[in-house]
Every structure is written in C-alpha cells, then in structure tokens.
Amino acid sequence: MALLEVQNLQTHFRTPEGINRAVDGVSFHVDEGETLAIVGESGCGKSVTSMSLMRLIPEPPGKIAGSIRFQDKDLLQLSEHEMRAIRGNDISMIFQEPMTSLNPVLTVGRQIGETLRMHQGLDKQAALARAIEMLTLVGIPEPARRVREYPHQLSGGMRQRVMIAMALACNPKLLIADEPTTALDVTIQAQILRLMLDLKRRVGAAIVLITHDLGVVAEIAERVMVMYAGRKVEEAPVAELFRSPRHPYTQGLLGAVPKLGSSLSGAARRLAEIPGQVPSLKKRIDGCVFAGRCALATDLCREVAPGLEQKAPRHIVACHYAPRGAAAA
C-alpha cells in the first residue's frame, strides 16, 4: 500500500512577471519503507516538490493544488495546526546545507530535544537523554559532551549527522532528504549515505531523496522519478532506468556523468552535454517541455505535450518517440 500518494501536484508562485509554474501537475507515490529518488537539473522543481509535501511553501505568493495523500489523509486539506503535528513527527526533512540549517545560537541537544518534547511530550531530562541516544546512533563520538555544544563547534559532516538525528528522533514514516550530501566532501558523502540507509532499515522509514547526483541515486534509490521544468518526464526502477533510459532528457543526464577511464578511451570522446537550459516556467508550454533542447524534437513535440505512458513494466515515460517494450540490453 502506498504511504504517500501525490496526485496532480501543482505549486505555482505569483510573481510580478506572471505565474511561475514551478511544479506543474506531478503525480507519484512512495510505498512504505521505499526509497524514491527525484532527479533533475537545478530549477526543475525538485526542491519545490519536497517543500510542497511538507507544506512549507509560503502562501502567498505560493499556491499548492492537487492532492497529497499521506496515510489516507490529504495533507492539503489539513489545518496548519494539524499539519504541524505531522511535520517533524510523521514526515521529517533533511536539508542540503548543514552549515546553515542548524540554529547557531541553540545547543545541538536543544535542537534535537525540542522535536521530542513537542511531538512525544518528553520532559527536558528525557528529551536530553534521547538526544544523546540519537547522537550515538548517528555515530557522533562523545555524544554526552557534543549534546551541549553549538553547531559552529561541529564539522560539516557532524552537522549533517545532527540533522539526521533530528529528523529521525521521532521515528518518522517518511524522510524527505533534499540534496543531503551535495554540500559535503566526497568521503563524508559516502558515510552519510551509508548512515541514512542503515537508519532507514532500522527505523523502517520511506525516503524521498532529492538529488542531481546520479551516483547517489544508483547507490541508494529503488525507484527514480526524473523531473524536468516542473513535470515528471520518466519514472522507473533504478536498474531499469540506468540500463535503458527512454526519455531523451534522462539519456542526456546519464550521458553527462563522467565515467572513470573514459578520457583514456579516445581523444574524440567528450562528456555529453544537454545544450540550452531549462525553459522559463512563467510561460505556458503547449508542447513537450523538453522540445526546445531535444535533438529528436519534431513539430508534433512542439505542438502536443506527450502524456505519461507505460513503455515497459513499471517504466513510464512522457515522450512521443520513446521506444516501447522491455529493455533490449
């Protein structure tokens, strides 16, 4: 059964230049304990999608429409008060910037503890004890000392561990991780990913992982959703997607990843790039959103938006020309 079922999510922002359709009719689901990755370039609507799930979009100027069913409740119908009881408790979030996402003037223990005090009614002592426990769990040495320290006394990796401890303190059903490793050193990235996977197994939480790093996706996701210009263009299990990407944009994304040793295999081989940039979301696009940058685009693409179609088992693509049938390779 789906833990989270998002239907036709539309998050629009009113701006002086017109309406910005940051997320424009996206549907997806996340099963219990599953890891779904949402990938795409900067500005494709990944982060806005994740903020919309938590209803953290300021309204106005933002406006969220559609439905977000979480454990059979439509989050968009809840009052702000009911929503607060879900944030940090049933659904929690890890952000990209561990350096700025922790409050610099409150101790680590206080920041972990206040979630517990509010959602689980623990008293000050119990919350502190549990905060120390959480720090131990995320692998921070000397937790009893660290719990009294301030964020500026911790390294970037440590701070992200604190963020994870904070997010998992109340045993959430769903963890939304928005570029959790982007700001970290490569060596630390691997540690943090392993930690997230390990804790996910222990806590049994589902993860929505927002990233542009396909290496991270390959490592921890089970299913991938590719977004482009505020829309979903492809969705498939991770192995299937890497083996046979069917949307030209996904193919471009995969082609843009440097492979070890590729520079040795011939001077002519260059890193593939996708020409152009994400179109302005302030104008309504009638045809395929990717048509402007797609080498295969035809008049049909420019006039009629392709619907999402199932092209192979559990593999859906929004492209008029995507090949059908099981993966060839």
Partner: protein
C-alpha cells in the same frame, strides 16, 4: 568570562580618565567666571579675587586637576558653589527618581517594542506591519515634551487615572511610585519604542530568511517558538546594541521629561546647576553619567556572549 569582565573594567579606566579631563576642562572652556558669579553683581574686583583664591581657582591648571582627581578618588565630588552642600549628597538625593524613570522606561520600551517589531517582521508587508511602522514613524517624530503634555492632559486631567506630576519614592509603596512614573516613562519611551521596534523588525526580517528558520518549521514548531526562540535569539545582537545606545540617549531625554512632569531628579539638578554655573555639580553629574554609560556598554558586550555562543572574548 570573569576575567573578561575584569579586563573590561580595567580598560574603562583610561576612558574615565579622559572623560575626567574633559569634565574638568569645562570650567576653563565654558564662558563666565565662576568666581564672579558667586561674588554677585555688586562685588568689587577685589572681592572676586578673594573668592577666586578661596576656591583655589588661581592655581595652575594641572595642580587643580590633580587635586580634583585625588579628591574624586576619595569619594569627594566637591561642594556646590550655590548651596554649599556636598555634590555627592546632592546627587544622591536626586538619583532615585531618575534611575526609577530610566528603569521603568527601559522595561516598558523593551516589552512593547520587541514584540511589535517581531510581529511586524512576521507579517511583513501586511496591514499590521504597515500600521506598526506608521506608528513608529509617528512616535519617532514627536518630541518628548509634546507627547508628555498630551499624555498628561488626557490621562491625568481629562480621565483622572494617573497623577499629573511629581514623584513618590519607592519606600512609600510600589503603586504610588509606579503611578507617578507611567506617564513620564511613556512620554520618554515613545522615541525608543519606535527606534527599537524598527531595528527589531529589520533584524528579524533578515533572520526569518535563514535556513534554520525553515528547519524549525519543518520540525513542526509553533509560530511563537519559531519567532521568539529560534529567530529572535539570532536577531538579538543588533537589538541589544540599540537598547544600549537607547539607555545613553535616555539620560538626555530624562532631563526634559523631568521638567515636564516636575520630577525632582538629576535632570532638574542638571538644569539648575547649568543656569547657576554651579561647576562642581555639573562636573559631578557629567562624571556620573559617563560612568553609567561605560557600565551600560560593558553590560551590552556581556549580553552579546549570552545570546550568541559564537561571540567569545
């Protein structure tokens, strides 16, 4: 922290020494001859000269200065030329009303201004925000004596809720003391409420953009906790700075306010002393206010370390 405070107190010594030099030089810079003033209009030049000698005003500048500093260090601020009473006891008599007025004004100001600024920042751009800021401009533009007379007219004369003027010492009861101070504190505080509310709003607006405020919301915290714990503590440094400057400015404002509400405080003593060219009294008051200001600055710096753990000395 203790060693920091100790070092800070040590470092105030040179500041106080320079202040003392300036205060003492007043006697020489200011127009008018104190000996002639004391002698009166009818005195002969010989009388003036005799008084000058009696006061030691004929000695060299540095000798006079050294002598003066030496006596101050022993707690002797000199004797009023006009009343012949020790300056220290004159100041002591007037200290309570002024300190009371400043304290009440400060508490009132902070209690009103900070929440107003926080709400204005939270509702930035809304009608609430614009109303608060319009009042801030209004409060900022009105002089203390205008607000004072209007308040006295309304709440004392028309509604008869509070006394028009005067002062009752704290030993005679909390309410009699407080009721005499509410209107003066409101009048005096108007400008500071406006100033601190504006600074609070500006500081909060910046903090509310920060990632950690988004984190706090993502944790499901309530609006009050986000605004007054997570955000306000981060916005506190500029607010505390302005409150500190405000205390220094209060000293000047207290003089006018005490005149409007007939409060027998240091402000009145200062005006009387200036009008009579009573230099020892003027010097004593200026020294005291300088010392208070240095003390407030120290408190502001110590407060920084309490609100922001990244600030360490």
């Amino acid at each position: 922290m203790v060693s920091y405070i100790f070092r800070r107190i040590l470092s105030t010594m040179p500041v106080m020494a320079i202040v003392a030099l300036f205060v003492f030089s007043l006697l020489y810079i200011a127009p008018g001859d104190p000996a002639a003033v004391i002698a009166g209009d009818q005195a002969s030049p010989a009388d003036v000269e005799r008084i000058r000698q009696a006061l030691g005003l004929d000695r060299p500048f540095l000798v006079q200065f050294g002598d003066w500093v030496w006596r101050i260090l022993h707690g002797d601020l000199g004797t009023s030329i006009f009343t012949n009473l020790p300056v220290s006891s004159l100041i002591a008599q007037r200290l309570e009303p002024t300190l009371s007025l400043m304290a009440i004004t400060l508490v009132l100001t902070i209690l009103v201004a900070v929440p107003l600024g926080v709400v204005a920042a939270w509702k930035a751009g809304s009608l609430v925000d614009r109303t608060i800021m319009a009042f801030a401009v209004f409060g900022f533009s009105l002089p203390v004596f205008v607000v004072g007379y209007v308040l006295a007219y309304l709440f004392a004369l028309q509604f008869d809720w509070l006394p028009v003027q005067g002062y009752t010492p704290l030993v005679e009861g909390l309410w009699p003391w407080l009721e005499h101070l509410i209107l003066p504190a409101l009048a005096l505080g108007c400008v500071y409420i406006a100033l601190i509310a504006r600074i609070t709003r500006a500081a909060m607006l910046e903090v509310l953009q920060q990632d950690y405020v988004r984190t706090a919301r993502a944790k499901g915290l309530g609006q009050g906790s986000i605004l007054f714990v997570h955000a306000l503590k981060n916005a506190a440094v500029p607010i505390v700075t302005v409150i500190g400057i405000g205390i220094a400015l209060l000293i000047g404002g207290a003089v006018v306010t005490e005149s409007v509400f007939a409060i027998p405080g240091l402000g009145r003593l200062t005006i009387d002393a200036i009008l009579r060219r009573d230099y020892p009294v003027i010097q004593g008051i200026v020294l005291l206010f300088s010392f208070l200001y240095v003390l407030v600055n120290l408190m502001v710096d110590v407060t920084y370390t309490l609100v922001d753990p990244r600030i360490r000395y």
